[in-house]
Structures are given as C-alpha cells and as structure tokens.
C-alpha cells in the first residue's frame, strides 16, 4: 500500500516527520510501520513538545534511587526499603466516557508501579471539572463528576489499593476538558526493584495478562483505509478496565518476580505491545522479535496494525531467562492468567514483527523510543492571559458572614466527602491520615516510616502567572507535608496544558516548567517522573495552564497531627504571621471567584526562603508534639482555614492584625502560613523566633462558634460552627442533585 500525504495526515504526522522516518529506515515505511511510528512519536508517548524543557527539572537528590525514564520514579525511605510513585493523566478518555476513562486511568498508573516490583499502597487523584452551577453544561458536568468518581472507586476498590486523598476544583475552562490525574505509590525492598531493560540474546519475550482486542486503538489511526466499516463500528474509543484482572496481574507479577527468572518487565500502556517491546529493547540496546500469531487474542481477524496499536488493558510484557519459562508459566497459571512466549531478544537493535509469515515491521528500537522529533516550539510571546492585570475596585462587603458561608459551601472549598466516601481509603490498614486533611499518610508496616503525599495545583494562579503559580503549587504541596510533620523528599508532576503549537500556550508551559524547576530545586524535592498532557482544548479555548504537583514526604510512624481542633481553650498560633495581600493579588483569590465572580491581577507573592523556614519550623513543632492541630492556609485564607479546623463542638475566637481591609485580612491567600492550636504556645513562639519565622497567638479555641475580630475589636465574622459544618457537608451532594449520604 502506498503511503499518501492523506494517510500521513490521518496519523497526525507532519511531512517533516515522515521524511525523518524514511531517513531512519532508509526506505518507505509499510502501513503497519507508519502506524507504529505514529503512536510512538505522538505527543503522548514522545513528549516531543516538552522534552527539551523537561530537561530543566532537577531529577537527582540524596533520596532518589531512580529518576525519570523508567515506568516510575523511586526513592529510598531507609532500612533498604524504597517507594515507587508517579502521576499520570487520563483527561481525554474521561471526557468521552467518564467511568471507563477514569477507571483505566487508575489501572494504567497502578501497572506502572507494580511493574517495578512495588506493591501499590496508595492512590490520590487530582480532578478538574466544569462548574456544577451557572454553566450551560452544568448537568453534563455533574454527570462527568459522577462517572469519574465511580470509575476511580470501581477500579481502586476492587484492586485493593486505598484512595487516600486528592483535590477537586471546578472552572468553566474544564467543561470540555476535565482533568483526571491519578497518582499511585508502591513499596518494596530496594533489591527487589525491577527495570524495563531487555538483556540476553535468545531470552524469551513473554506476554502475560488479558487478551488483546481492538479496544483503544489510537485516535491517530482512526479513519484509515485499512479498517472496514464493520471493524470501525466495533471499535470502542476508550478502553475498558477489569480491576479483578489487574489484581490477578499484580499478585502474579509480584510472585513471578520472586522466582528470579524475570530479566525485564514493562506494562503495556499507551501503544501497548509496541511501546513495551521497543522501549525495553532500546534501553537494553538489543533487538526484539515478536510473532503476532502467538499473541493471545479475544477477537478474530485482527491485523498486525491493530494488534500493535491496541491498548487493551491489564497486559504485561516480560523478558525471561531462557530455560526458566515454565517457572513463570506456573505462577501465572496459578492466578488463572495467560502467559505465552511470543518472541525473543535478538542481536542488532530492531523491533521485528512477524504476522502470518510476513515481516510486518522491522524498525530500529531506538528510532521509535528515543529518536522521535524534539521540538523547540515558538514561545517568544507573553503567556496567554485574558484577565486584567491591574487591581479591580469592589464595594465593601455588607455581610462577611454570608461571604464565608458562600466560600465554605462553594464547590471548590466544600467538603469532598461525597467523593471520598466512595473510595475505600482504609484497605491494607496503613492509612494514618486519609482524605480531607492537608496531606495523606500511609505507614509502611515493615519499617517505622510512613509516607505523606499531597497533590496540589492552582489553575487560576497559573493562568495569571504560570511561573509564580507553578512555584506556589510546589510550595503548597511541601507546606502540606510539613504541616503533618513530614519531610518532602521528591516529587512527580502532571503538566496539563492546551495546544503547544500556539506560542502563547507554549509560553505558559515553558514558564510553568521553569517555575517548577526552580521551586523543586529550592525545596529539595527533585522530580522523579511525571506526565505531560497537551492539547486540552475545545473549540480553540484551552484550559487554564494546570501543572499538578505530587510531593512525597517521609515521617516517623506515629499518631499524626490532625487538621481539626482537639479541645476548647487551646491557643491559636499563626505560624508564618498574617502575611499580606493587595488589590492586585486579591484578584486570584477564591473570594474574587466565588463572591465577586471575577479573576484579575496576580497570584499571591511567594518568598521561597521564608516559606522554607516556615516548613522547617512546622516540622519541628510536629516532631516535638507541640501542636494539637495544624492546618495550612491556602484557598480562602485564614477565615476558611479556621472554618475547616472547626468541629461542630469546637470553634475559635480570633483577632486579626495587620491593618488590611477586612476582605483581604479574612480571605487573602498569602502563602507561608499554618494555623496551629496548642497548649504550649510559649514553646512554639520561642521556636518560631529561632527559625526567624513570624507568628503570634491570634486567639483561642472556644465552644461552638467561630468569631473573628479586627484590631478595632469589630466583629467581622460570628457564626456557629454547626452552620459552617452543615454548609460545607451539604454543598456537594446538593450541587450534584443527589441524596446527602445517610
């Protein structure tokens, strides 16, 4: 079949890219080869628009065992134990089919973790949806929320991994582009880590797990001549997940790894069979030969093209030691899984695919895995932004109590219980701190260490200033970990952006990556891997630039500090001091969004040196057990933080200083602040002064009310804590038109 410019275009390759393929092969590619190149060189697999910028990220550090380039990053946590973790997006599939899109997103990242030998012990998810009110598509957005949440619930719960935390934000720009970013973390002994590097000429290549079908064949290959109308109709756009199969695959892989007969292993994710084989071959600088006739198939009449591009879920590719195949087959058969030898490791360095006696593809592994084009896409323009830069005037609020209620019952700030009660956040009995707090904590039973994790991103901040917004996301994630007493040691990131071929979007990406690089280096949280999701656009309107940071920290296993007040009569210390904001920076706040319905200006100002001192001070407070509760200040400022720390029985009486306008003082989002309740305020104040961190006693905890005064002793806020709690808990079920969970 001749490759026409039409066919090249249908594969989303440019003429220049096609010419590069021809020059790498020294000949015209076959149709199947073109399909293989098109997926491996897709933005999703090759990172061609972002790669040169990702190089700017810090990737090494004293805890890092494995940085980017493998299926997941790995850090040491002491005593010979390591954790593997990564974040990955499944944005587009979750829009098309929310339940399966989100479910297979969970499945994909879990495989990335256990393919390294690590048993998954925690999942967190960062979600962005369109608004549930005031949008022409609010109903559809609500259906997407319900579908995504039940998909994550379905997959994670059945697999048996606790979903312990995350975040969920609503903006109009995500109506046509919801973001579903899933983070997973697993644990194992350092000597039990497996890599995806093929070795040993003649070693067998073994296929395990689910059978291959036509599902998920990449969009790049749609509408091409080789498919019949009939096969097109049968082909679903989104893969279908089977968490039970994944659970079997997990147990079987972990058991098979113990035999010592596995040389290399990689899951079949995007571009399935193709990516797993060429990437393992490329890393080991060897060839891989595969006979597709041997691949377990669940449909008849599949072409080589379809099998190579299928994204059927729950499959793994293994390179085993020759002669020890049976040991592996025995393990996989015990778990009821297919395991068959489909090829071998060869000399040379090519991926050679046989099908029905025909050599369908013969491509250097390196060409597929490492020689995809890298683009320095133009970005010499200011990042895209449509919001006014200067401060906007707004009238003084006539009812601050009502404003606070509006904030705590907004979709962004309300209790997300409706979501996380659908997740089994306790299975494996390691969850020291589950959803709803600043950071999630799971213990590692085999050691005295626990792992704290937090996912953070703020599209509004990044839209106004991608560089500063990205730094703020890193800072907040590290602050969240420090608030529970954990030392941040490494990070993963998910970069969600619009179309990189538009310079003003590319500029957002470059600015954000450089911001992350600077902040991660500063806070000693190197990036050990991650994911880039571009082209998040509908009808030319892109999402806010939304980098999501997942920072991982280490702490001693002990009863964690909670974010809720524990007793009446405790002193409230604001670690970091009141901070400041102004009319320009207030435009990025949740108050501006929820109460004023506007966005302007700049994100809060961040002083990273000061921020780090606040973290250090907070970790010392936690380790000395001086705090009864600790909660970081972020969206909604001190008023919302006080509301969140309040319980129906315990509130607070607080006096604000700093001479700011009431709205700024209550709801300004200056960083570097943590609210601590304590019976040992003097010790904390002494500690703060030693760390050169501001902070004073701003009030006390009291029964059943939240009262906030200004310096002139005017009561700005006076509400019952029960009303705050009710507003927060009732909001999301009401917005989703569902029953309040009984």
């Amino acid at each position: 079949m001749t490759i026409t410019p039409e066919i090249i275009k249908h594969h989303q390759l440019t003429q220049g890219e096609f010419d590069k393929i021809v020059s790498l092969l020294g000949r015209q590619p076959s149709y199947t080869e073109l399909g293989v190149f098109s997926v491996m060189w897709s933005e999703h697999c090759s990172y061609k628009s972002s790669r040169i910028h990702l190089k700017k990220l810090p990737t090494t550090g004293k805890y890092v065992v494995q940085g980017p380039g493998e299926n997941a990053g790995i850090i040491g946590i002491g005593d010979g134990w390591v954790v593997a973790f990564k974040i990955e997006s499944h944005n587009h599939p979750s829009y098309i089919e929310p339940f399966q899109g989100a479910a297979t997103g969970v499945g994909g990242i879990l495989r990335d973790i256990f393919t390294m030998g690590a048993r998954p012990i925690a999942v967190l998810d960062s979600l962005r949806f369109g608004p549930l009110t005031g949008s022409p598509v609010a109903e559809r957005n609500a259906r997407i929320v319900a579908g995504v949440v039940s998909g994550i619930s379905h997959y994670g719960n059945c697999f048996g991994v606790p979903t312990v935390g995350g975040e969920c934000i609503f903006e109009e720009c995500y109506s046509g582009n919801p973001l579903v970013n899933v983070f997973a973390l697993g644990v194992c002994r350092q000597e039990d880590v497996f890599f995806a590097k093929a070795k040993g000429i003649g070693n067998p290549v073994i296929y395990v797990g689910a059978k291959t079908g036509r599902d998920g064949i990449h969009g790049a290959s749609m509408a091409s001549a080789e498919f019949t109308e009939e096969s097109k109709q049968k082909r679903p756009n989104v893969q279908v997940g089977d968490p039970f199969m994944e659970k079997l695959l997990l147990e079987a892989c972990i058991e098979a790894m113990k035999t010592g007969a596995i040389v290399a292993i990689q899951d079949m994710g995007a571009a399935g069979l193709t990516s797993s084989s060429c990437e393992m071959g490329s890393r080991g600088e060897v060839g891989i030969e595969i006979d597709l006739d041997l691949v377990p198939q669940r449909e008849t009449g599949m072409t080589a093209y379809e099998m190579l591009l299928s994204e059927s879920q729950e499959r793994m590719l293994i390179v085993a030691e020759k002669g020890r195949e049976q040991e592996l087959f025995d393990v996989f058969h015990k778990w009821g899984l297919d395991a068959v030898t489909i090829g071998s490791v060869t000399e040379g360095g090519n991926l050679r695919i046989q099908h029905k006696g025909v050599l369908e593809a013969d491509i250097p592994n390196r060409a597929l895995a490492d020689e995809a084009p890298k683009y320095d896409r133009p970005h010499n323009v200011p990042p895209h932004r449509t919001a006014p830069l200067e401060a906007q005037e707004f009238a003084a609020s006539t009812d601050l109590n009502a404003d606070l209620m509006k904030l705590v019952s907004s979709a962004d700030l309300c209790s997300k219980r409706w979501i996380w009660e659908q997740y089994d956040y306790q299975v494996r009995t390691n969850t020291l701190a589950g959803p709803g707090g600043d950071a999630a904590i799971v213990r590692v039973k085999e050691t005295g260490q626990s792992i704290a994790m937090s996912l953070d991103g703020n599209g509004r901040y990044c839209f106004l200033d991608p560089r500063e917004g990205a730094k703020l996301a890193v800072a907040e994630s590290c602050r969240n970990l420090s608030t529970v007493g954990a030392l941040p040691v490494a990070a993963t990131n998910n970069l969600n952006f619009g179309n990189p071929e538009r310079p003003e979007i590319m500029a957002q990406l470059v600015e954000a990556v450089e911001g992350i690089a600077e902040a991660c280096a500063f806070f000693d949280a190197p990036i050990t891997g991650g994911n880039v999701s571009l082209y998040n656009e509908t009808l030319g309107e892109g999402i806010y630039p939304t980098p999501v940071l997942g920072v991982v920290g280490i702490l001693k296993t002990e009863m964690p500090v909670s974010s809720s007040f524990r007793s009446v009569g405790a002193d409230l210390v604001l670690v970091g001091g009141f901070g400041t904001t102004d009319g320009q920076r207030f435009g990025s706040s949740q108050y501006a969004k929820q109460v004023l319905g506007q966005l302007w200006g700049l994100p809060p100002a961040l002083d990273m040196g000061y921020e780090r001192r606040v973290h250090e001070a907070m970790r010392e407070i936690a380790s000395l057990h001086l705090a009864e509760s600790a909660h970081d200040l972020s969206d909604g400022g001190i008023a919302v933080a006080l509301a969140e720390s309040s319980t129906p029985a315990i509130g607070a009486h607080v006096t604000l200083e700093g001479g700011l306008r009431a709205e700024f003082a209550l709801f300004g989002e200056a960083p570097s602040r943590i609210l601590v309740s304590t019976k040992q305020a003097e010790q904390i104040l002494a500690l703060l002064s030693r760390h050169e961190v501001q902070g004073g006693v701003i009030g006390v905890t009291i029964g059943e009310r939240l009262q906030i005064k200004d310096e002139g002793k005017t009561l700005l806020i006076d509400v019952t804590t029960a009303s705050l709690r009710n507003a927060s808990e009732a909001a999301l079920p009401a917005l989703l038109h569902t029953q309040h969970a009984v």
């Binding site: 039940s150 619930s153 996380w420 659908q422 969970a741």
Partner: protein
C-alpha cells in the same frame, strides 16, 4: 488459637485480617496466629477458626460471592462449619456465606447505589456467641464499612426468626445502606458462623483509627481458652 484466612484471587482484606490476628491480637498477651488458605484447597487444615476476608473474591461482576460459593475451599468451609468450627465472614466473606447458604438472606446494592467507606456506629445485640461473648450487651462500637453491596434483606419470617433466636449480632445505629431492621451482622443457627459487613480487622490498631474491633477477636480467643 490458629486462624485460617481464606485467600480468593480477588481477596484484598486477607492481609489485614492476617495482620490483625498475628500482630495486633497478640499484643493482648494471648496466643493467636493466622495462616492463609488458598481458594482451591480441599481442606481448611488444622485450624481452630476460619476467616473469609473482604475483597472481590472472583471479581464479583456477577452477584458478590455467587461464584466463590462453588470454590473448592468453600466445600471445606461448609464441612468445617457443619462440624461446629468457627467461621467469620467479613464484608465479601459475609456475602459468600449468604450465597453458600451458611447464613440466611441476601446482600444487595446499597440503597444509595454507591460504594460507601466510613466509620459507622454499631450496637452489640447479643453476647451469646463465641464472637461477641467478650462484649457487653448493648455495647456501642465504631467500626468501618467499605462496601457497595451491603444492604441486608430477607423475608419477614426469616427476620422474625433471627430476632426470636437472638441471632442478630450487630445492628447499625444509623443505617448506612438500607439494611432491613438495621442488620449489620448475623449468626447461624448453631451460633458458630458470623457474617458481618463492618470490618473489625480494620479497627485493631490505634494508629489507623481505633481498637474497637479487637473485642471481637478477643472473644474468639476466649472461646478457645475455655
């Protein structure tokens, strides 16, 4: 007390039960140990009690536990129970016991049609069983639930019979899933089989919430100390 924890391919609370027995229960100074029993075993071996743990036995895409009841190990568990052996089914284990006919009634989707994971209040209804003898009648417990299909249903006659024979072990104080008569756990006629939706094994360690589930396992220990 030697406890066999059955492992179906989709069990995912098997290790939690194992850990609670081996690590948490032993702290109270008495001797208990747990071992795993693979789902195709034809015998439960030399154990004093069997736990059917939570999870998704064989995927449970059909009714929960509908396939598990036909597994080889369940034939062995049936015999073990018939001989008076203690069998505790937690969550998916409860569903399997009901499907296997070791307990009456059925477990269907939660009334709210959603999976629910939360701590719930329970009332201890009877102490006349090896699982609850160490508790006080009427004692309130906070235990976690984590299930999508935990709504207990049975015909009126069965429900009345459970009442009259004092076979309701636990009732929800705030019914989370629509279970008839707030039933959270029931006993067999011989009182040696207990099925319950809440997870006592998740509440055996203060670090992960509470130790309110320990009383149940300590009761089982006590039954063997006698």
């Amino acid at each position: 007390m030697k406890v066999g924890v059955v492992v179906f391919p989709g069990s995912n609370c098997d290790h939690d039960a194992w850990y609670a027995i081996n690590k948490n229960l032993n702290r109270s100074g008495q001797v208990a140990s747990a071992e795993f029993i693979w789902h195709d075993a034809r015998s439960v071996g030399q154990v004093d009690a069997v736990i059917l743990p939570g999870g998704f036995s064989y995927g449970d895409y059909l009714r929960c536990g509908a396939i598990a009841r036909f597994s080889p190990v369940m034939q062995a568990v049936q015999k073990f129970a018939a001989d008076g052996g203690l069998v505790l089914g937690i969550c998916n284990g409860f569903q399997i016991l009901v499907e296997a006919g070791l307990l009456p009634g059925a477990l269907i989707r939660n009334a709210g049609l959603k999976f629910i994971c939360k701590d719930v209040g329970l009332e201890t209804v009877t102490t006349a069983s090896p699982f609850t003898s160490g508790l006080q009648k009427g004692q309130m417990l906070q235990l976690p639930i984590a299930h999508g299909e935990g709504q207990y249903i049975a015909d009126e006659r069965t429900l009345d019979q459970l009442n009259s024979e004092d076979r309701v072990a636990f009732r929800y104080t705030e019914n989370p899933n629509g279970s008839m008569r707030d039933i959270a756990g029931i006993l067999s006629a011989g009182r040696n089989v207990l099925g319950m939706m809440p997870h006592p094994e998740r509440a055996c360690d203060p670090l992960v919430g509470s130790t309110e589930g320990l009383g149940l396992f300590e009761s089982m220990l006590g039954a063997f100390a006698k």
